[in-house]
Symmetry: C2
Subunit: 544 residues, 2 copies
């Protein structure tokens, strides 16, 4: 007498309670067709995650509650587990509801509220204090939400082995970064082995501002082995039959795609960037995007990701050359667009630059050979992009990579101007790897090889090269990984063999440019620490 | 045998451990001259508050500890209380150290960690669990940090009356908003009356990014009555003698300025804006600021605040007219500058606008009568300001008020371009009150009366008025106060008598313009909820 269980890995939209419920209802209907008896949706699937300060709106919380209650009425023919924000007299809970027979049968409150990195759950939620176990067809299930199973000691304390459990049900909204899947698999293994029980893990999928939820929901057996799992970076609904035989769970009749569990870091970053970009653009109501194509690798990569995310017909490129741009880069900008099949415009900015500079030369001390003049070029380009955005309804995608963003190698309101910064968390060394990967994946030149191989330059003055102001990108990225992602002190980096003068200069640039990052658009987080919610540095900061 | 106690209300800088310690040492020397026996500095005075993710740097925490230890050696001749971030094996504490006889004598860990509004203390700190009481000259003192006394029930639980106390010492980093002083006074009264003891409250002063700490450190007696207090918005060191007579504390020999306790809301907002602007500019290493003067009230007010904060010699104005600007506003821009005694430039943008538009008209569909053309004017101005900033080292101050910021009545990278947004938390109705207040305060016309009385307009197209797109500012600000500051639902605002169509339109504008606010510079927080750390809304948000 097996129990048929499905994981409803949906792409929920923050605040779109109606839309999310409609999608869950679709999954319910499909599950019904497959005779599913228990359908498990992810954490906060009703309201999307993270809803942030929407949780301070009483009406929002009321609507959550009402939506869960109506959904229970609409889905009476199986047991359904959903996650939602539950209003309480003195705040709210991050809750899991068990729906069945047309009503809400049980509610569990998340115990362990993460308040680090990108998470602010103690800002919003009251912590639950009691475990919850339900029994369906003789299988006892401990109900948990995300972080509840991440700390074995706390989980053990919560369960206190005061009840028998065959299966841990965990609903999650666990965001992606490179390496996260490995961390999760460790947690799953540790948890299932420790409690000698299976795991049904239902994770959210989709992009929400800087976060991308990667899905990869999974059934795990009591030995920590994966039974089957859902797609990565896409909606999915794996189904299995679970039966208890001689006190142990047996999984049969697995209905899931066969997916390679050995995730490739470059491939998953690419998929995360594509999904994150698609969801940001679409969920914010935009159809077409606009990209300033310089003929360099950053904008070519950004365009390739945008075309994959939105279709070539929705991606517009524009190149805006001056006399500082080489004929090769100008031609490569066009070639990038052509290889991607996207629309392409050329707007020379020489006359406007000349007029602008003439106007400014009315001021004593205006200098056409300085940084201000370089920035002026970038700001004229930013203004063109935003003018086209205003006139034609495009969302502008910016093209700066993480290495540039870190050291402020960019012009505020120039190349940082736009709605979404696709590769802002991709270090330059990874930009190269991704570009080569895409060409391989597509089996043809998508990003021109000449672009990949050219010595990088901002082309804002004659014969400029990135290496005039910055160390080699391998060195730069090593310093940034240590200082930014791992909070290693400059002293330690120097002791570890990095050049003292270089480390000190780069660290200083990172610190000084916090103000630029604070005014830059969001972009997809792909590392354990992005320049976003997970790195909250003061602007006014004299620490050296 | 009285005990002479001083409150060391210093302006600490985040990250500037050396500088802060040097300043504390100066206060110590002054206190020594006055025969002070106990000197109490504010919360986190060693490292500044809030240090945010600096607290994730082990070296930063180590330097905190070392600084406290050396300071103890340097200041052996009285008891000194300091606040600092204390490294622990599994995180860090928000700590209070009692220094005396050249060493650290006691350490107390903050128990109650605020994690709401602008506070994220549970992200950073472990919570202490025990109270601490010290005895000096027969006066027993319970040591507390900020939030510890804000919740009477928790405070009562912490103290559990397990020890006798004559005085509660509270070191704070309590940020300003209008009305905060009243809340604090309630807390002080409640607390002193409940525990039948006095209070010595030492609060930080100074601007840190969006926050302004207002000081107003205070001694309170057991009846909740103020004995004396320190200046608002300035460094200060009030001194009193405290003696225990018949079991009750007696305060004598008060050395503090006589300050009116009935704070005027307009005056304190003005002072907060001046201090917040001065500290942001100076602590970030800038000398001069640049302001685009339109001849309107927002930029005139911003200039007046900047002149008060930095001196007229450090404030530069530039007006950048087009044919859409009336002769009156152009002349008022100059008049504003003249009344304030600041430098002033005029840069007409007509030719550059024409050239820019000519360049863009190469694109099918470019329209000189639309919103894109209006935004283009603002972006040309933003680019001029930033070019001057780059060339001459000015920090650009933006001039948008809270009402505009709320509904997105601004051009991203245009009038939002700059380093600090002085009045971003000042609603338009308060902009008028502040302007009149400044003229009164100075006893002359500082902000031209013609500017105050003119019908507001962005002057980006012929005969434009703010009221073409927005309701009257009284109505707008009432809606915004309800929806933004108090999280009141649109339904409730309508039930309360506001016009349905207007409420719905404004609420929609507020929601839609989150992306603009996310890319805007910080500015002084003066209300209980600013568009800053205390309002964290998702950009991708379909909640209606």
């Amino acid at each position: 007498m097996a129990l048929r269980v499905a994981l409803g890995q949906i792409n929920a939209v923050v605040g779109d309670i109606k839309g999310n419920i409609a999608k869950m209802r679709e999954f319910y209907v499909r599950a019904l067709e497959q005779q599913v008896e228990l359908l498990i949706f992810p954490e906060m699937c009703v309201c999307g995650y993270p809803p942030e300060d929407l949780l301070h709106k009483e009406q929002f919380l009321e609507e959550n509650k009402n939506a869960v209650e109506s959904f229970a009425i609409d889905c009476p023919e199986m047991t359904v587990i959903v996650g939602f924000a539950e209003i309480a007299t003195d705040g709210c809970y991050n809750s899991l509801a068990v729906l069945g027979d047309g009503g809400v049968q049980h509610i569990y409150h998340k115990n362990n509220l993460p308040n680090y990195g990108v998470f602010d759950e103690q800002r919003y939620f009251l912590a639950g204090t009691t475990p919850y176990v339900i029994d369906i067809k003789g299988i006892s299930m401990a109900l948990t939400i995300c972080e509840d199973i991440w700390h074995l000691e706390a989980a053990a304390k919560l369960f206190e082995d005061s009840f028998h459990k065959d299966l841990i049900v965990n609903i999650s909204a666990s965001p992606f970064h490179v390496g996260k899947i490995g961390l999760r698999q460790e947690v799953f293994e540790q948890c299932t082995k420790h409690f000698s029980c299976g795991l049904a893990y239902s994770n959210l999928v989709g992009g929400q501002d800087e976060l991308v939820f990667d899905g990869r929901s999974v059934f795990v057996d009591a030995d920590g082995k994966t039974v089957c799992h859902a797609k990565e970076f896409a909606e999915d609904m794996p189904v299995v039959d679970i039966e208890k035989i001689d006190g142990r769970l047996k999984y049969t009749n697995v209905q899931a795609d066969d997916i390679n569990e050995h995730y490739d870091a470059i491939a998953e970053v690419y998929n995360a960037l594509v999904l994150g970009t698609r969801d940001y653009v679409r969920k914010n109501g935009f159809k077409e995007v606009l990209i300033g194509l310089s003929g360099g690798i950053d904008s070519s990569l950004t365009a390739a990701i945008a075309v994959e995310a939105l279709g070539a017909e929705n991606v517009v490129g524009v190149t805006m050359p001056t006399r500082f741009n080489s004929p090769e880069t100008i031609s490569d900008a066009g070639r990038s667009a052509k290889l991607l099949g996207m629309k392409f415009h050329t707007i020379g900015i020489a006359d406007t630059l000349a007029q602008f500079s003439k106007m400014l030369s009315g001021m004593d001390g205006w200098d056409e050979n300085g940084l201000a003049y370089e920035n002026l070029q970038a700001r004229i380009r930013g203004t063109i992009l935003m003018s086209m955005s205003n006139q034609f309804g495009y969302m502008v995608l910016t093209t700066g990579n993480k290495s540039e963003v870190a050291v402020g190698y960019s012009t505020l309101y120039g190349d940082t101007a736009g709605g979404f910064a696709v590769i802002k968390d991709v270090p330059k060394t990874l930009v190269y790897k991704l570009s080569r990967y895409i060409n391989e994946l597509k089996g043809r030149e998508v990003i021109p090889v000449s672009v990949i191989e050219r010595v990088p330059s901002a082309e804002l003055r004659p014969d400029q090269k990135d290496s005039d102001s910055l160390p080699d990108y391998e060195v730069l990225d090593a310093i940034l990984k240590g200082y930014v992602e791992d909070d290693v002190s400059p002293q330690k980096l120097i002791e570890d063999g990095l050049d003292k003068e270089t480390v000190e200069r780069i660290v200083r640039l990172v610190d000084l440019n916090e103000y630029k990052r604070r005014q830059s658009p969001p972009g997809v987080r792909i590392t354990p620490k992005a320049f976003g919610k997970d790195r909250r540095m003061p602007i006014t900061n004299k620490y050296k």
